[in-house]
Amino acid sequence: MKLEIKNIHKSFSGKQILHDVSFTVTTGKAMGFLGRNGAGKTTTIRALMDVFKADAGHFVLDGKPFDPRKFNIGYLPEERGMYAKEKILNQLVYFAELRGIKKAAAKASGEYWLKRFELDYAKNHKLETLSKGNQQKVQIAQALIGDPDILIFDEPFSGLDPVNSQVLKDVIREKIAEGKLVIFSSHQMTYVEEFCDEITLIEKGRIILSGNLDEIKNELGKSKIRLKSLNFDNGELKEKLMHMAQGLDISQDKHSLIIHLPENNNLSNFLRQCLSAGIDIELISPYQPSLTDIFIWKVGEEHA
């Protein structure tokens, strides 16, 4: 399946929220949909799910107009809640029925996921009797009921302990492998990097980056290298390099210096220069930015 979000515009009370938002999601690859708070992620998702109509643009699935009512979409919103005083299985079935799943199927699926999340003992308990982490698992279960074709997870790991996080990771990997269409959003970039082959970055209602994550990393990491010395600390090394070669753009992280080589220089040449300058090399490698770096750079560019 290929879901295309095409040229979506949306405004509220005269204020434009989404400006020509376009990106594509395909099955078998999770899409990391990233953005700062208030960037327009939730508005895009709500427009996709037909909570309200976009002012312009289309949602297209495999070349045909996308009607969310015809699909089972499992949605886990970032700000989420369920009925505290209702029995867990009852409300899981209720939410599933509202999405068009038959009662018997919803019940069977609800019981399966509660068992999978080791909460089957609590199926007839009220939600408020569970701990916060277990309540989160129930919320995740409601998104998975009925084997949805499309899964949208927004901060799914929030509130989960490491053991439960691992359970959820296994579920997400399973769904990706099953060929489901998965849209994943989180501010914890390590999770996004772990699951997502594709990313789309939205800022102030505009898509500022979209594509394959590895390709983006390679592109943004081009002409950059990591360097660490045995006989100089990072500060001294930076000074040495500044004297050694003109036009070097040097930054650093906790691991090493990050050097942006100018166009008139290359890795081999630079290595020779370092050795000539008496620098004993501990580490030299091509640099790949982390998703956090990419996020900060790109969003920073938008604000510049």
């Binding site: 709500r46 799910m49 909570v51 919103p77 369920m82 009925y83 209702e86 509202l98 999405r99």
Partner: protein
């Protein structure tokens, strides 16, 4: 359409299984059953005791008398009163008042003058009446004797019994008053309780973010309609159950009810009056529930619900006040106008119809206004709910929400 029913079924089951609903229904039913059984209980106690001798004398228990200037004799007082306590002076009787041994004191200064001293006087106090009546009777007697007239003969001449037969061809307000009051009060409680319940339910869904799952699972229209119908029916079931318990209690104990009381209870039970009551209650109840639900959607925090629904609650209280006036004076202009304005007609028109003549034309006009208003406000409420369910932040006013909806429709 399907989802309206799913929401309705879920909400109704949720409300009816709440402990607070079950317990309050049980308590009110038990209290009502006991209340309707009181005549039977009193009858049982009366049957076990000797009937006390009837007496025309009024008891002056709790009162103190000072006879000054030999204005009157104790024997004369004993013609009219029993349990008489005489004090020697005003100061003594004032002390007894201050010590709360008595609640009122009479200082009789002459055959035609006396002073009443009470600790507190309420609006309906008639503390002076018994003594005034007694002194009047005594003075008339003296005047007749002075005129050489026989007081007994004069009293017999005054003792005329006129037989009266009243026929009411329209409505007898005395028959319908009690039933009109009970039904009016029941509808008042129904709207206040279940209006608050539906607005709180909506606000809670926004507060704890359940709304985020709901609006992405189904259309907001299904949510509000299902919720309003569920709360509406739950209220009717709860109040209906309590009413049935009351009716059963009255029916089982009816033989022990005084005839006048039974006439007051049953006299107003006319099919047409009950039909008018049911129709106006149905539309008015839905009108208010829709508005309450939409106001609940305009807040994001539970603590803002009460301020959001305050205006509509005040409006309904005004409807109650107008209808209460109608119980006493169903023909006054305020009540007549109130029986046409849909927000007040829910109570005012049934009260008017129970107690006085209302033409079919008046009913038809009022009902048409009521149904159109209920439909219009249901539509507006659905639009407001749709808007409110997506908005978080500060409480939005009803007027601002209407403006936003109008702008949205223009787009």
């Amino acid at each position: 359409m399907h989802n309206i029913f799913k929401v309705f079924a879920f909400e109704l089951k949720s409300i009816l299984s709440k402990k607070s609903i079950i317990i309050t229904t049980a308590i009110i039913s038990i209290v009502l059953l006991i209340a309707t059984t009181i005549p039977t209980i009193l009858q049982m106690f009366d049957n076990g005791e000797e009937n006390p001798q009837p007496t025309d004398k009024i008891s002056l228990m709790g009162s103190g008398i000072v006879i000054a200037n030999e204005a009157i004799t104790l024997a004369e007082l004993e013609i009219f009163f029993r349990d008489i306590t005489i004090y020697d002076s005003e100061s003594e009787v004032r002390k007894a008042l201050n010590d709360e041994k008595i609640v009122q004191a009479y200082i009789i200064t002459s055959p035609t003058a006396f002073t009443t001293i009470v600790v507190n006087r309420d609006l309906y106090s008639n503390a002076s009446f018994p003594i005034r009546n007694a002194l009047t009777q005594l003075q008339i007697r003296r005047n007749l004797i002075e005129l050489d007239l026989d007081p007994i003969a004069v009293s017999q001449a005054y003792n005329v019994n006129i037989s009266v037969n009243e026929i009411v061809i329209g409505k007898d307000a005395s028959d319908s008053f009690l039933i009109a009051y009970v039904l009016m009060f029941a509808v008042y409680m129904l709207v206040i309780m279940y209006g608050a319940m539906v607005s709180t339910s909506v606000a809670r869904e926004k507060d704890n973010r359940t709304m985020e799952l709901l609006i992405t699972s189904t259309k907001p229209d299904a949510l509000i309609i299902g919720k309003v119908l569920a709360n509406g029916l739950a209220g009717v079931l709860q109040f209906g159950f309590v009413m049935i318990i009351g009716v059963i209690g009255i029916f089982v104990n009816r033989v022990n009810y005084p005839g006048e009381l039974l006439s007051m209870v049953l006299g107003g039970l006319r099919f047409d009056s009950l039909l008018v009551f049911l129709i106006f209650t149905f539309f008015g109840y839905l009108l208010y529930l829709f508005i309450y639900a939409s106001l609940g959607s305009l807040v994001s925090k539970m603590e803002d619900v009460s301020s959001s629904v305050a205006p509509i609650t005040l409006l309904f209280i005004a409807a109650y006040v107008i209808a209460s006036l109608g119980l006493q004076m169903p023909e006054i202009m305020l009540v007549k106008i109130g029986s046409y304005v849909p927000f007040t007609a829910i109570l005012a028109m049934p009260v008017r119809y129970f107690l006085t003549a209302v033409s079919w034309l008046e009913l038809a006009v009022s009902l048409t206004l009521m149904t159109l208003t209920a439909w219009l406000f249901a539509r507006i409420s659905i639009d407001i709910y749709r808007l409110g369910s997506l908005n978080y932040g500060n409480k939005m006013s009803f007027v601002k929400a209407l403006k936003l909806i109008r702008e949205d429709k223009r787009k």
